[in-house]
C-alpha cells in the first residue's frame, strides 16, 4: 500500500503546508507565516509563532533532491544554529535530509565548508591521544576539538521532533580529518554522529544546484589538509631520490675509478736525509680536460707522526700547486688515534707534464718510515652528490612547514588555541 504525502493548513494564517517527511514529521514551519506547527496530531497546534526575524533563504532550497553516497535524499528541514565564543557569535546552517527507507541525514555548512552527517548507533570509546582528550570510534581516533552550547535561531521545513527556536544542545567535536565525531546532549540524552567533510562543488553537483557554491573562508575543524598526503609522499620521494643518488655515486665510483698517473715506494730516515729531506719524482703525464688530482699517502707509522709538504709542478710552465698533509698514528691499550694514511684532492689541474716535489718531516727522534705515494687523475668527487642530497631536502621540508602551518591555523579555531592569539589569524603561515 502506497504511503501518501500529507498536507495541512496553517492554523495561524490558513495557508497550505505540504509535508515531505510523511508521518515522520512531528513539526513543520508554515512557509507563509513561519509559525512552527505540531504535525503529530490531526488537530494541528501552533508550537511557536515565529518572531519578527528576516527570512533566511537556505542555499539549498527545501524540496531539492540530491544523491550522496549512492542514496537519493530530499532536503526537508533547515535550521540556523548559533554558538557564542569569546563575546562573538557564530552561526552555521543545518539541512535535514530524508529518504523514506534509509532515514535521516544532515548536511551542515559554515563559511563554505560542508559536512555530510550520519547519526551513529554505537558508542565511542574515550581515550587520550598526544595528551588530548580523544575518542576511539570505528577505525579512527578523534581528537577533542571544541565544546560549545548550540542554540537554534531559525527554522524552516520539517523535523522528526518538535523543534523550537531557542532549543539548545551541549555539543562536542572530535576530529580525524576528513571526519568529525560529534556529540549532542539535550536533556541528558546524548546523540553521536560522524560527519564527512565535503567540498562545496561536490554538494552543488550532487543537488544539481545552479551557480557556484559559496567560497570557502578560513580552515574548518575537519577540513583535510592539502599537505596531509603530500608530506609523507614528499619524504618518501626524498628517500627514493637519495637511493637513486647513492646508486649514481656507486656507478660513478665503479665506472670512473680514476687513473693512476704516478705511484712509488719511498723510505725516510733521519740520518740519511740530513737537513733537507726534499726530493722530486720523475715526470708523469696528466691527460684530458682540467680535472682533479688525488695524492694518497700510505705510511707504516707506529706511535708517531710525519708531515708532508708537496708541490705539484708543471714541467713546462713551472706552475706549482702547493699543499701539505700530516699523518699521525698512535695506539695503546685504550685504542687508536689517527690513521697511517691520508689523502688530498687538488681540483682543476690542467693537462700537462708534471712532477711532484715531496718534503717529508718527522720528529727528530723518530725512527725509519716507509711510505707509498700514489697520484691519481680524475677521481670521483662526491661533494656534488652531498650538495644534491641537501638540495633534495628542500621540498619535503617546505611541505612539512606548510603542513605545520595549516594544522596551527586549524587548531587556532579550537578550544586549544594559544591564549591571546593575534586577531589577524586568517593566514596559513606558521608563527
Amino acid at each position: 500500500m502506497t504511503v501518501k504525502t500529507r498536507s495541512l493548513s496553517c492554523p495561524n494564517c490558513g495557508g497550505p503546508v505540504q509535508l515531505r517527511g510523511f508521518a515522520h514529521t512531528l513539526s513543520v514551519t508554515c512557509p507563509q507565516c513561519l509559525s512552527i506547527l505540531d504535525a503529530s496530531t490531526p488537530e494541528v497546534q501552533i508550537l511557536q509563532t515565529f518572531q519578527g526575524k528576516q527570512r533566511i533563504q537556505p542555499k539549498i532550497p527545501l524540496g531539492t533532491r540530491g544523491k550522496l553516497g549512492g542514496t537519493t535524499y530530499e532536503v526537508i528541514g533547515f535550521q540556523v544554529r548559533e554558538v557564542e565564543a569569546g563575546g562573538d557569535s557564530y552561526s552555521w546552517d543545518e539541512y535535514l535530509l530524508f529518504n523514506p527507507f534509509q532515514g535521516f541525514r544532515y548536511l551542515t555548512e559554515y563559511n563554505g565548508h560542508w559536512n555530510f552527517v550520519h547519526v551513529e548507533s554505537a558508542l565511542p570509546d574515550q581515550s587520550r591521544s598526544a595528551g588530548k582528550l580523544a575518542m576511539r570510534y570505528g577505525d579512527h581516533t578523534y581528537l577533542h576539538f571544541d565544546s560549545m552550547k548550540a542554540e537554534t535561531v531559525y527554522v524552516l521545513g520539517e523535523f522528526p521532533w518538535q523543534v523550537r527556536v531557542g532549543d539548545t544542545a551541549a555539543c562536542q567535536d572530535f576530529i580525524a580529518p576528513p571526519l568529525m565525531l560529534s556529540s549532542e546532549a539535550t536533556s541528558g540524552e546524548v546523540t553521536w554522529s560522524v560527519a564527512q567533510y565535503m567540498p562545496g562543488p561536490e554538494i552543488w553537483k550532487a543537488f544539481s544546484l545552479p551557480g557556484a557554491p559559496p567560497p570557502r573562508a578560513g580552515i574548518f575543524a575537519n577540513q583535510p589538509s592539502p599537505y596531509a598526503g603530500s608530506i609523507g609522499s614528499s619524504w618518501r620521494t626524498w628517500l627514493w631520490l637519495n637511493v637513486a643518488l647513492a646508486a649514481m655515486a656507486f656507478a660513478f665510483l665503479v665506472l670512473s675509478p680514476g687513473r693512476t698517473a704516478f705511484s712509488d715506494h719511498f723510505a725516510y730516515s733521519q740520518g740519511a736525509q740530513q737537513k733537507d729531506s726534499a726530493f722530486v719524482t720523475p715526470t708523469f703525464q696528466l691527460d684530458g680536460r682540467d680535472s682533479n688530482v688525488e695524492v694518497k699517502i700510505h705510511t707504516d707509522l707506529d706511535n708517531n707522526w710525519a708531515y708532508f709538504n708537496f708541490a705539484l709542478i708543471n714541467n713546462e710552465s713551472g706552475q706549482a700547486f702547493d699543499f701539505a698533509r700530516e699523518v699521525s698514528y698512535y695506539h695503546d691499550s685504550d685504542g687508536t688515534e689517527g690513521s697511517r694514511n691520508n689523502s688530498v684532492i687538488i681540483p682543476s689541474v690542467p693537462a700537462g707534464q708534471y712532477y711532484l716535489r715531496v718534503e717529508p718531516e718527522m720528529d727528530p727522534g723518530a725512527p725509519f718510515m716507509r711510505y707509498d705515494l700514489e697520484l691519481r687523475r680524475n677521481v670521483p668527487n662526491f661533494t656534488l652528490f652531498v650538495i644534491a642530497g641537501l638540495l633534495l631536502l628542500i621540498p619535503p621540508i617546505i611541505s612539512t612547514v606548510r603542513r605545520a602551518g595549516f594544522e596551527a591555523a586549524r587548531w587556532r579555531e579550537s578550544d586549544y588555541a594559544p591564549a591571546q592569539s593575534s586577531s589577524s589569524d586568517d593566514g596559513g603561515d606558521d608563527d
Partner: protein, 212 residues
C-alpha cells in the same frame, strides 16, 4: 511459508498463521485481537485503527540478515511523549523469532535472550550505567516510558495492555544493542545489534508517493 489456518470467531474470515508458534494474532478484516487456545481462536479484544505511520516495513516484508532469511509476521507500535516506534516481529526460516525495531528509520535487530546476569530493578536504573554481559560493556543510553499504540499480526505472547511500560536501551562501542523491557518482573532482555537499512536486504516494502 504458510502455517495452519483457522476462522475468526468474530467475523468468520479466514485467519492464516505464518508462524506456527504464534500465540496471538489480529483479524485483518474486523481487527479483533485473537488468542490461540488448544482448540480454537478466542477474541480477547479489538484494535483501534493503527495511526498513520511511515515505516517502510509491513507484514509480509522479507529480508536476509547475515545469510538468514526472515519474514515480518507481526508488529507492536509503541508511543511515547516524543513520538513512537515499531517493533516488527520477525520469524526466521528455521522457526526462531526476533524483533526488528524501526525508530524513525533507525533499525535494530534483537532477540529474546536469557539474561547473562541478574537484571537491575526498574528503580535502580540510571543513564550511563554500565553492565558487563558476554564480555562486552553495555551502557544504558536511554530510558523511555511508552505504551503500545496498537498491535497487528502474529505475536509470541498475549499483549494488548495499554499501561505505560519502562524500556531501557543499552549500546556498546561495537554496535551491539540491548533492551530491558519492564513489562514483566523480572524484566525481559532482548539483545541484538544496530543495523543499516541496506544490510537487511528487504523486499516487499511499502511504497512512498513521489519515491519510486
Amino acid at each position: 511459508m504458510s502455517g495452519p489456518t483457522a476462522n475468526c470467531p468474530n467475523c468468520g474470515a479466514p485467519v492464516k498463521f505464518l508462524w506456527s508458534s504464534a500465540v496471538q494474532t489480529t483479524c485483518e478484516f474486523c481487527h479483533s485481537i485473537l488468542v490461540r487456545t488448544d482448540v480454537d481462536l478466542k477474541k480477547v479484544g479489538e484494535v483501534a485503527d493503527l495511526p498513520e505511520d511511515a515505516s517502510p516495513i509491513q507484514i509480509g516484508t522479507e529480508g536476509i540478515y547475515q545469510n538468514k532469511s526472515f519474514v515480518v509476521v507481526g508488529r507492536i507500535l509503541y508511543e511515547y511523549k516524543q513520538g513512537g516506534w515499531n517493533e516488527w516481529h520477525i520469524v526466521y526460516n528455521d522457526g526462531a523469532s526476533g524483533w526488528l525495531a524501526d525508530a524513525q528509520l533507525e533499525y535494530d535487530l534483537s532477540w529474546f535472550t536469557k539474561p547473562p546476569a541478574s537484571l537491575p530493578a526498574s528503580d535502580q536504573l540510571t543513564r550511563g550505567q554500565q553492565f558487563q554481559w558476554n564480555g562486552k560493556t553495555y551502557e544504558l543510553t536511554s530510558l523511555t516510558r511508552a505504551h503500545y499504540k496498537g498491535v497487528q499480526g502474529e505475536l509470541p505472547f498475549e499483549y494488548w495492555d495499554k499501561t505505560d511500560l519502562l524500556f531501557a536501551d543499552l549500546r556498546t562501542t561495537t554496535g551491539e544493542f540491548a533492551t530491558l523491557d519492564y513489562s514483566e518482573q523480572p524484566p525481559l532482555l532482548f539483545m541484538g545489534r544496530a543495523v543499516e537499512f541496506n544490510d537487511l536486504h528487504l523486499k516487499n516494502l511499502r511504497e512512498f508517493e513521489g519515491w519510486s
